[in-house]
Symmetry: C2
Subunit: 493 residues, 2 copies
């Protein structure tokens, strides 16, 4: 569907650029990594504004120094405005730590220990007010920015932090063209009954303020649609994947994202990456390498990964000393108590396994907890088995990054509960992430797999990843919106 | 739909009668309480057999003393055969404790602490074989018993313990008329992905061996239907609530069960019950009474009930000394570690609250953990507030028993996640069971409610319960089966 490209307004919690103040007091900026930034930036060829929350001290300083927190950014052949919104710390904390990451994230990934948690109290009530006010501020800023454009833009709202924005924006601009994309897993209607009723209702109605809602997998889209059946006044057509509310039709679409391969490959062939690879290779010696790369995140299932590896070693003792497990983990959300406790659990279990099974010249598991993107890029080249076993995961990009950078026809061990499984599953070894025995069997199968089969699978994985570049992800979304626009024009004619 | 009544075969884990050997070495039997036994017994007017597992030493002794473990039972105006199946302890343990109560029950009530549990290992694999063999034994026994009847019976299979029976029975008797009823909540398709794939698939296909599947609420029926979309070869029609698999049509029906009021009222007016009520009344003094009656069960949300009451007392200190919370809890599944730990948690929290808020002449919470059906019957008469706040619950009969026996126009505080809420919700105060603040508000609202409003609501509750006797529940199921039978006859003609 070709059409005159329109200005695009993007909104996300984290912006594409991070600011810091250098020693000379000057603002310095660095651009975020990843296909999402590239794709969304690419969509702003005809101008637009990216609205995001100020996250760092540098971000807040940028807001303080510029009128309305707005600056112009030049990226590749595009130029767009960037507007950061600074919130009082307490408000941001309620919006971000309590509601977004402590409530919605837990709900959508089924992370609660339901017999004991959650316990909703006064703090939830207060934090919900914060979430509302931040979402309202985003909608207001988007509408303001749009008023500076020569023609009405397309709005691309990102993720669970901003689930009320479509609704608030619709109130301000009834005819706006709004798409929202959820990058997480999405809970089904029964589990969603855990969260307080008015929060659940507001989140669902908030999202339904959009014209198009995007998800990474059919499973998440379906869960969303089923939940909408409990929104009063909403009519859900599961077969045609749409909802009608207050006379408006909302399309629910599945557009799995992929990664931007070229810059990753470039980085992987840099001198620095090569040096890191050499170091890792020396460390690995003659052993086979099982790798995992994750945020230190409850949903990533790091603990059960270690237990499965232990189970594998106990049942296949001939592999002792001939395999090493490297866990590259970046710190995440340590201000949430469950995350801090989980980090300790993971370290303790790895140490126990090392003590019980390791020896003087062999340590079964190496855990590295730090920000080290380049280290991960380097390690991707070297694995024999990549373990990606999340409990639940919206998509999972590690499962894509590994295969396009790996040089040993390494095998992907992939949770069937990751969105990525629906795309890559046929070339991976699928696992149930709760099944220790099954994951141990999968490690064994991966290590024993013939070279031919490994080659066939790793080529298949690369091909699938390369066939779906981020630009395609964004184009399909803009096509959806274009279709909505034309239909509207048609109805009006 | 009137029709010639046919013999009925019932299968359930727990039978309607419990045996024990008395001091003289004679077998003594006692009949189980509750509307389910009455309803299913009532369905066997034209003969039939009830097949169940031998649970007690007395049950096993009965099996040892009678050919094939079969005896005849006379109940009211009905006479039917009872056949108990005795299994080796290890097999029963795998089938009952591990798979039925440790896996399927946890799955259907969303009870796992998913970040840490479950961990499926070798014991799950072994226990699953036990579950298969017990389910197969039930199917074989049913088919044997049916062959002794003058005409083909209707099979009524009960609950999650026996989810494979419809499939195995269908293999033995392709034309059998089989209904299965699930008395629990039912998890949605995403949460069900936690359990090992072949167990999930076998359970769903096992149930789909029936002609009619019954559930207590639309929510559970809908979750089941959505899960069936992932069964290969199954076509699900959500709107018409049916599944087609291997050319057979399976109807999914919602028949909420109710309670048998007359015998409960009779018991409540017995001399013994009256004495217990007098004792309780003296204990309560001038205080208002909040009551809960439950098994000591993870899904019943006992802990959060105490926390909500604590929250209420802290925010409304004028109620201190003027209200008492009585928790009547019967011991349950203490051989499952989570249950033993939960019991301790509940006792510890109640003690903490009593220490922190109570005084010399007032103890805020009284916890009684023992089998005491009559005590519960007596206490129902006296409550001002009945707290029924399960995390998730298939139906919940306490929410029905209380209102028909209460004499004070007591208020029902009811979880919106209980099947009963869909029937009784309009006369209850609905609560989100995870919301401590909200439940505290509900306690306050209940205690402050006007006499008129309490009268209106308690009458409404009694009316709804009385309008749906267990005999109706069973008749609707037999009508479903009769419809299937006629349709089949029609197709054959």
């Amino acid at each position: 569907m070709s059409s005159h490209p329109r200005p695009v307004m993007v909104a996300s919690n984290r912006g594409p650029v991070t600011f810091r103040v250098d020693d000379a007091g000057q603002l310095q900026s660095s651009r975020g990594q990843g296909g999402l930034v590239t794709a969304l930036t690419g969509a702003m060829q005809s101008g637009g504004t990216w609205v995001a929350a100020a996250l760092t001290d540098g971000d807040r300083e940028m807001v303080a120094r510029h009128p309305e927190g707005r600056i112009q950014v030049k990226a590749d052949d595009t130029s767009y405005d960037l507007r950061y919104l600074a919130f009082p710390q307490a408000v941001f904390d309620g919006y971000y730590n309590n509601i977004s990451n402590g409530l919605l994230w837990f709900a959508h990934h089924y992370l609660w220990d339901t017999v004991h948690s959650p316990l909703f109290k006064e703090d939830t009530v207060q934090a919900w007010e914060d979430y509302i006010s931040v979402n309202r501020a985003f909608a207001t800023a988007l509408a303001e920015e749009a008023s500076r454009l020569p023609e009405p833009p397309t709005y691309l709202i990102q993720d669970y932090h901003l689930s009320l924005v479509p609704h608030f924006l619709r109130e301000l601009q009834p005819d706006a063209l709004i798409a929202h994309f959820s990058h997480t897993a999405i809970a089904g209607p029964t589990y969603l009954r855990i969260i307080p009723d008015r929060i659940r209702d507001a989140v669902l109605r908030g999202l339904l303020g959009a014209d198009v809602l995007g998800f990474h997998s059919e499973a998440w889209a379906e869960n969303f649609l089923m939940s909408c059946r409990y929104v009063s006044g909403a009519r859900v057509d599961l077969g045609r994947s749409r909802v009608v509310l207050e006379g408006r039709e909302i399309l629910v679409r599945v557009h799995p994202i992929s990664i931007d391969v070229a810059p990753m490959r470039e980085l992987a062939s840099s001198l620095q990456a090569r040096r890191l690879r050499q170091q890792l290779n020396r460390w690995r010696g003659n052993a086979r390498l099982i790798l995992r790369v994750d945020r230190m995140e409850l949903s990533k299932n790091i603990l059960r990964g270690f237990l499965a590896y232990e189970n594998f070693l106990r049942r296949h003792p001939s592999w002792k000393g001939r395999v090493k497990f490297l866990a590259l983990l970046s710190p995440s959300r340590q201000e949430i108590p469950e995350y801090a406790a989980y980090t300790e659990d993971c370290i303790r279990e790895a140490e126990r396994i090392n003590t019980e099974l390791g020896g003087e010249d062999w340590t079964p598991i190496e855990v590295r907890i730090r920000e080290d993107y380049l280290g991960a890029i380097a390690a991707y080249g070297l694995y024999d088995v990549l373990m990606v076993n999340p409990v639940f995961d919206g998509m999972n990009l590690v499962a894509m990054e590994g295969p396009v950078l790996n040089r040993r026809h390494g095998v992907l061990l992939l949770s069937r509960n990751a969105g990525a499984y629906f795309r890559l599953g046929r070339y991976a070894i699928g696992v149930n992430p709760f099944d220790i025995e099954g994951q141990a069997d999968a490690i064994s199968e991966a290590l024993e797999m013939s070279e031919d089969e490994r080659t066939r699978r790793s080529r298949g994985l690369s091909r699938l990843v390369l066939a779906n570049p981020p630009a395609r992800w964004i184009r399909l979304q803009l096509d959806d919106i274009e279709r909505v626009r034309r239909r509207r024009g048609f109805s009006a004619a």
